[in-house]
Each structure stands twice: as C-alpha cells, then as structure tokens.
C-alpha cells in the first residue's frame, strides 16, 4: 500500500470520528498555536528592532554618551544607587569630545523632557517632548525639515528663541495653518517656529512626531535641565568602521575629565545601536530557548494523548486488522497504516495550531503596538514537529497492531 493510499485511508478514518480526532490532538494544537504566536511576535519584534527601533533611538553610526545606559534591565538597587551618584554631562564635555575624537565625526548635544506647548492662538498640547539640542542634531539624526528650515550653529550659539516642531505637534497646534513664523510658548517662554519636521511615524506605540526642538543654548535648555547640563552627547562618525576608535577616544576623554583611576569603572555610558541590539538579541535568545521548552511539554503531552487514542483505536479495530491481514496485508502494511494515521492526525492538529497561531498573531498586531511577522520556516517546523510527534506516538500502537495474530484478530468482536 502506497503512502498516498494510507493517507487517504487515515483521512477517511479521521473524518468518521471528527470530534474524537479533534480532542486527541488538542495538545498538539495548543503547543503549535503558542509556538507560532510567540515566534511571530518575537520575530516581528526582532525585525522591528533591527530595522527601525535601534536606529530611531540611537541613530545610524552614532555613539550616544549618557550618564547611565539608555536601556537598562537591571533591578539591582546598588546599581541604581551608583547611577544616581554619577556626575552629569556638561556642554564642555561635548567640546572636549569634539576636539579629542580623531576620526571624521559630527558631535552634538541633546537634552529633553516632557512639557506643554501653547500656540499663539491659545491651543495647548500636553506631553510634548521638549528638546534642547545643538544644530548638529538634524544632521546626526537625518531629520528632514519639510516646512521652513532648521536652526543654524550661530543661532544655537547665541541661544536664539526659535523652534522646530515635530509633524504631530505642528498639526495639533496649528492644524491647517502654516506654523512657520508663528509663536509657541513653553513654560511661558516664547519661541518662534521656523520649521516642521517630516513625519517619522511611531515606535512601539509612541509617536516620534510629538517633538519640539530648540537650540541647546536657548531658554529651552533651562526648561529641560539645570544650567550647563546636557542629557546626551551624540557622536556620529562618517564611516561605520570608525565606530570603535571613536568609542575609545570618547571613553578616554571622559575618564580623564571625570578623574577616574585605572581601577575605577566608567561612570558614564556609551551606547550604540549595535549594543542595544545585543541587548535585544539576549532577550530573544532567552525567549527562543525557553519557549520551545514549554511548547515541547505541550507536544509531549499531546503525543501521549495521541498514543492512547491510537491504542484504543487499534483495539477497536482489531477485527478490521484481522480482515486486512487475512486478505493479504503484511505486518509492514498494518504498521505503516497506523503510523501514517497517527502522523496525519497530529499533522492536521499542527495545521490547525498554525491557523490559530497566525490568527492570534494578527490579533496581537491589530490590538497592540507589537509588530508580528510570521516566518514560513516556523510553519514548516511546526508541521514537521506535529508529524514527528504523531510518528513517535504511533510507534507503539502500530507495533501492537502489526503483531496481531490474524486468527485471533478475526475472532474479535
């Protein structure tokens, strides 16, 4: 008997006992469903982090110097206490870095906090990201100004009260009106709008367009930070290969400025997009290792259920097996029939699990900011897993069926 014949036979058998077949593969369905859902979310996150997130937060070829790491997973209170004791970064740190980095690079500073903006016509919006940055920020971050212009280095140096709005902030404040030339107030201090940034989209549900950027030396600086203090010093190297050298230069400069002895650890952080990815890669590795463990448990349980169902099925069909043997089925034929039935059953369960898993992933994508991406390789893996579980679960029942003595089997009721 060929495999196609056996699969057709198995499907016919499954069709006659739909409900029983369904319940016997619930374990496999659940296992595969969770596998597909979680893998979809993790892979989606991965693609997102690699393509968008890292660059949106840290920028391309950019080293970000901060007092503490931008992304921190530690819950250790001693670490946090140490973070709070660290000195703040200052404008002259940026100047020192600018003069010490020996590779072609742009150095800028940026600081930010949340606050309200009020338009000249009295519209107030809350929770705008208020940024005080040097004019290099636009080049470092590749910000495109779609209306008006960015501020210049002289405007920054002089602390002119101009401001560039993010797309969303401009839209909310001014609607269809042209914001350029109008005035907005932050903490009561007026700034003249000179430009609007191109729409950036959102990141994990947070808008990247709810921004207002003013020169680092303008009054905005006092709104977001104490005098002379900056949050981040950004160093964008022209050539990706200079990232490490730039990092070493920055580290050396900062250690000297903070008078650290060789035995003392850095009391500042240098982040890159690549490092944030390594952090993500660690999470992903944990998810992708721990999670299949859980899935494996579901599949083992599912396999045991299938094995029991197949044993019952073989017992119920003892006479049928006797008939088949009497008219010429060999041990191998019976063995294959039971194995293929078990594998088909389990494979169908896996297919259902994939369907539900894909559906769940779509729902996750629809109702949450989490991106999902379904990798076909995982679908194939799931089907193979399902079929594999079925084959393993079928081994013992198949052996029992194949061993049946036709004389005894024909006498069974």
């Amino acid at each position: 008997m060929g495999i196609g014949e056996a699969v057709r036979l198995a499907l016919a058998q499954i069709r006659t006992q739909k409900l029983k077949s369904f319940f016997s593969v619930v374990g496999v369905i659940i296992g595969v469903m969770f596998l597909i859902t979680v893998v979809s979310v993790v892979e989606g996150m991965n693609r997102y982090v690699e393509e968008d997130f890292a660059n949106a937060v840290f920028g391309i070829n950019t080293l970000t110097v901060s007092r503490t790491p931008e992304i921190n997973m530690t819950g250790d209170p001693d670490v946090w206490r140490e973070y709070r004791r660290r000195p703040r970064l200052r404008f002259d740190d940026a100047d020192a870095i600018r003069s010490s980095v020996r590779v072609p690079a742009i150095v800028g500073v940026t600081s930010g906090s949340s606050g309200n903006l009020v338009s000249s016509s009295g519209v107030e919006i809350e929770n705008v990201r208020l940024v005080a940055a040097s004019s290099e920020l636009f080049r470092i971050r590749n910000y495109d100004v779609v209306k008006g212009r960015a501020f210049t280095a002289p405007e920054d140096r002089l602390g002119v009260a101009v401001i560039v709005l993010g797309w969303e902030a401009a839209d909310k404040l001014f609607g269809t009106l042209d914001p350029v030339g109008r005035t907005v107030k932050a903490r009561g201090l007026p700034f003249r709008v000179i430009g609007v940034l191109e729409k950036q989209g959102s990141l994990l549900g947070m808008s990247l367009d709810n921004y207002a950027i003013a020169p680092a030396h303008s009054a905005m600086s006092r709104i977001v930070n104490p005098h002379n203090v900056v949050d981040n010093i950004l160093v964008r190297v022209d050539d990706e290969r200079d990232m490490d050298r730039a990092g070493l230069d920055i580290e050396a400069t900062m250690r000297v400025r903070h008078r650290l002895r060789p035995t003392q650890a850095n009391d500042f952080a240098i982040d890159t997009a690549e490092e944030s990815l390594s952090f993500w890669t660690r999470i992903r590795r944990i998810l992708l290792v721990a999670f299949p463990g859980l899935v494996a448990i579901a599949l083992v349980v599912g396999g045991i259920v299938i094995m029991n169902i197949m044993l019952v099925s073989v017992t119920e069909r003892t006479r049928e097996i006797g008939i088949r043997k009497a008219i010429g089925a060999r041990r191998h034929d019976i063995h294959a029939q039971v194995l293929i039935e078990s594998a088909t059953l389990s494979g169908l369960g896996a297919a259902i699990g994939i369907g539900i898993g894909v559906g769940l992933a779509q729902i996750v994508r629809a109702v949450s900011p989490l991106p999902t991406a379904i990798a076909p390789v995982w679908m194939i893996t799931s089907v193979l897993l399902g079929v594999g579980v079925g084959v393993l679960a079928g081994i013992y029942p198949a052996a029992r069926a194949a061993r049946l003595d036709p004389v005894v089997a024909l006498r069974a009721e």
Partner: protein, 237 residues
Amino acid sequence: MAEIAAVIRAEGLLKDYVLGSETVHALRGVDLVVDRNEYVAIMGPSGSGKSTFMNLIGCLDTPTGGEYWLNGQPVSVLDDDDLARIRNREIGFVFQTFNLLPRATALHNVELPLIYGGVGSKERRERAAVMLERVGLGDRMDHRPSELSGGQRQRVAIARALINRPALLLADEPTGNLDSQTSHEIMDLFDRLHDDDGQTIVVVTHEHDIAERADRTVTLRDGVIAADVHRDQTAMV
C-alpha cells in the same frame, strides 16, 4: 508434476495449542490432497479440529508439525510476510460473518486485496467493478455493508475473495448467517464458479445439504480425518 496439480497437499499436519499447563492437540496428523478444480466440503462436529484445519490451509496459522504445500509451494517454512503474500494471491476467503470493512463501500471492499497486491488504483476500480457485476451487484457498488442485505454482503465477500483469481476459494460456514433461500442462492453461485470457471473450492460446514453440493466430503473427528468420501463413491455404495 503431480504436486503442482494439487492445490492443497497436507502431510501429517499437527497443531497443538498450549492452554495454561495443558497442551491441546487440535490436529493429530492430517493427510489431505485437494486437486485443482475439486469442490470439497469439510465437515465435523465442533471441537473436531475443522476450524484449526481451515486456518492452516488458509495460511492464517502455521502447523506445529507436518508439511503443507499450497499450489505447489511449501507453506510450513514461510514467515509472516510470505504467508500474507500467499493469502493475498492464492486464497480467497469467504467467512460466516462476511468480514467486510463496515465503513467502506462494496467497491472498496472488493478492491482491498488488490491494494495489498500493489495494483494501481484505476485498474483496481475496473477489476472490482467487473467482479461486482459478476456476483450480481453492479448496481450496489457504492453501498456500505450496512446498506446491504446478508446475501448481498456475502456476494461482496465472494467478489473480494475472487478478485485476485486465487488458486483456492476457502469458505468457512458461508451460509451460517443466511436464511435458506439466500443460502441456496449463494451456494448456486459457488456451483457456477466451480462448474463454469473450474474454481477450486473448499467449504467448511456442518450443514449436510451444503456439503452435498460438493464433489467430495472430508469429515474430521478428534483432529484426524474420519472419512473422505467422493460423490461418485457415495453413488456406488
């Protein structure tokens, strides 16, 4: 060449069953030759060993001792898979309880031996259809056994038994579950198969009027052949 002509050649067949500490001697040395085209009835009271004998000549079981050739092939030395192949090619079974697959159509039931014989699906279907026509069920091919009468079910079983053109049609109480009218129809079909096609038939039965249709009646008692009577001999007596 005489051995080739014999469809069944049994020499000193022994079959013991071990039941707990006791050994039951079901067959105590049976010698029997059935030639091609013969129509033989095997009779005997229950416990005479006729079921055991049927299982042995049907290659469903192997003897404890003695030799058995089916259609010239020594069967006693074969393993399970070879026996399965012999059952598939050389023997057509007809059982008292029909033994059809309940969820399969008449056509699929008849096809089944061809599936295990490795015949392609198109040829299978054609041959099964032809065979069902021959037993008078051309209009019942897509019916399941539960949708057929007892006589029709046995006809399906006969069609299945004959599909591989076996050397031996082996029937075990073929009319045991049928009323007398239907029994006659089935036995008439056996007669036709024997007379028209020269089919070798062995019928195990305890009913005399069934046995009388055969050319020869072999009676088993206590695991040995107690009588072996050809019809022409009966006529002479």
